[in-house]
Amino acid sequence: MTDWRYWLARQRGTILAAAIFLVMFILYTSRHPAGFSANVVQTAANKGVLLAFVAMAQALVVITAGIDLSVGMIFVLTNCLASWIVYGTPLQTFAGVIGVLATGLVCGAINGLIVIYGRLQPIVATIASGAVFYGLALALRPQPGGQVNDGLAEALTGRVFGVVPVSLLVLLAVVLVVWVPFSRSVTGRAAYAVGSSETAAYMTGLPIQRAKMAAYTLAGLLSAIGGLFVTFFTATGDAAYASGNIYTLYSIAAVVLGGVSLYGGSGSAVGAVFGALAFRTIGDLLFVFDFDPLWQPLFQGLVLLLAVCLSSIGLLRVRNRLEWFG
């Protein structure tokens, strides 16, 4: 096989997710009363990037065969924090943004420390740390409220040249600045190796702990970027338990749709981004097809269930029944 075929085989999940998204989005805009206009794209992009950031965060951890059930709570916590500190003079605002991102990093690092050095199972550990993060969010914002620097918010949620949504550009920049260097570094390769087989990665002398730590910490950072953006869109901080849970749930759905294997070791954060955008579009499809919004949760659930069941199609190829048990 030639090089591009290897590349294609490795990126199959990502390409499939991108294709699903494109089909859904074309369907969506063709039915939308306003058609394929800059406004429609901007609204869709602004909704989609929030989930995309959280999904990227989840993808990083899932690649190492872990799971982070606290991403939604970090999202909520940073939202509440941003509604306090991203305000005032440009310098204050800048410091506020740095503070929010740093908080995300610290939250992620705490998860990493507990999972790696505490040797706890990621599921339970991140559920518990998520409760702590949510508690902190509630301490910051017992009632929804707060404010955000209007100029910055408008700049980051608007459009450049009247067509391209800025939020999409920021998403692209984050992919280029965070994901691309990570996936090409030794640490990033080690993250994939840990996900494939931790024992083999250990035997090969790869930096297992550094890889996992980087994945969890960056996941915290990416969730914080999501939290920052939701503050720009809504201009309030809201410690809503349901919203944190939903973002965690949808991030897993997006990761699955994006072709990232939940057993770890394959897929990419770019796939998760497309998975997130596709998942959001699926939810919006119902509106343009004039369905009762009540059906939206059921429809999204069924799509998720279908995607999940399709992933088990590989079972048909299993010749030795012992392979069932991984």
């Binding site: 799971i67 339970v124 702590v132 301490a139 998720l304 269930l305 999940v308 079972l315």
Partner: protein, 331 residues
């Protein structure tokens, strides 16, 4: 099947007996319960009064029934994240049937449990036969169940109220002084202990949790056992929901949300390994009581909600760090 099982059975039983006396996790949990009660009695002597303790036991029994199902699934090395909406579905469906005349009143409780068992059966099919990771398939069925319930209720809490028998089962007193809910939990607990220790099905659960491949090779139909365990978990979650609906007289949209994390935490704090194959029901009982007491004391002390969340998370993490740690990576 019968050839291979007895040897593993007797071995495990021997170890089980030995461990039951000294399991550090169970001892720590019970120790923590005593310390919690002692510490809070310094604040107010009401914490040691029989009325308060009985009330806590009653509140704990709802969590206890739900955690029993969760424990079966965790023993398999899986997890059931569909608990929130299975609880709600059980409650809503039984209330809905209770509104349909006398026959409905009679069938309300079995019907609620049946709906939960169906959800669980689907989970089990996905995990056992389709080999989808349990975390994902149960998340998906949770979303679908939520969708179904939202469509059914129109997004509002349903107006149907619980039947008299549900109300009686949750709040009545069959034996003077002992709430019925506690009795029901006792029955479920006895059933769980018997199933886990004395039946082939129960031992198969432990075997699968230790190594599914080996269990399969020793002749256990592992896929069927997994499916059944999930079905039981769903049924028990729904039963918990039925009782909760009886307790509150009606079902509510997000009534199950408050039970997922406590159920997992109770099982894990009770010393059941999240990787499966190891754990005793006594530990789960300890975990359930510990979590309920912790929640109750935090609210009696009037600690604000955010403080409760933080303390709750920190306590779970701290206890897990004490004894829930995995093996060090060596080879």
């Amino acid at each position: 099947m019968t050839d291979a099982v007895p040897t593993t059975l007797s071995l495990r039983r021997m170890f089980g007996r030995k461990l039951a006396g000294f399991d550090p996790a169970v001892l720590t949990s019970f120790g923590c319960i005593v310390v919690l009660l002692m510490a809070s009695s310094l604040y107010s002597s009401n914490f040691l009064s029989p009325a308060y303790l009985l009330q806590q036991l009653k509140v704990a029994s709802f969590l206890g029934i739900i955690a029993t199902g969760m424990m079966l699934v965790i023993l398999l090395g899986q997890i059931d994240l569909s608990v929130p909406w299975t609880v709600a579905a059980g409650a809503m469906m039984s209330c809905a049937l209770a509104a349909q005349g006398t026959t409905g009143q009679v069938l309300a409780i079995p019907f609620g449990i049946f709906c939960g068992a169906l959800i669980g059966l689907f989970n089990g099919f996905g995990v056992g036969y389709l080999r989808i990771p349990s975390m994902i398939v149960t998340l998906a069925t949770n979303a679908v169940t939520q969708g179904l319930m939202v469509v059914y209720t129109g997004g509002f809490s349903p107006q149907d109220s619980a039947s008299k028998s549900m109300h009686w089962l949750a709040t009545g007193f069959l034996v003077p002084g002992v709430p019925n809910a506690v009795l029901v939990w006792g029955l479920v607990a006895a059933g769980a202990v018997f199933t886990l220790n004395r039946t082939v099905f129960g031992r198969a659960i432990y075997a699968i949790g230790n190594r599914e491949r080996a269990a399969y090779l020793s002749g256990i139909d592992t896929r069927r056992v997994v499916m059944m365990a999930f079905a039981i978990s769903g049924a028990l979650a729904a039963f918990g929901g039925v009782l909760l609906a009886g307790y509150a007289s009606k079902a509510a949209q997000s009534m199950g949300d408050a039970y997922l994390l406590p159920a997992i935490a109770a099982v894990v704090l009770g010393g059941t390994s999240i990787l499966g194959g190891r754990g005793t029901y006594l530990g789960t009982v300890a975990g359930v009581i510990l979590i309920t007491l912790l929640q109750s004391i935090l609210s009696v002390l009037q600690i604000p909600e955010f403080g409760r969340q933080i303390i709750y998370g920190v306590v779970i993490l701290a206890m897990l760090l004490l004894y829930g740690r995995g093996a060090k990576q060596r080879q």
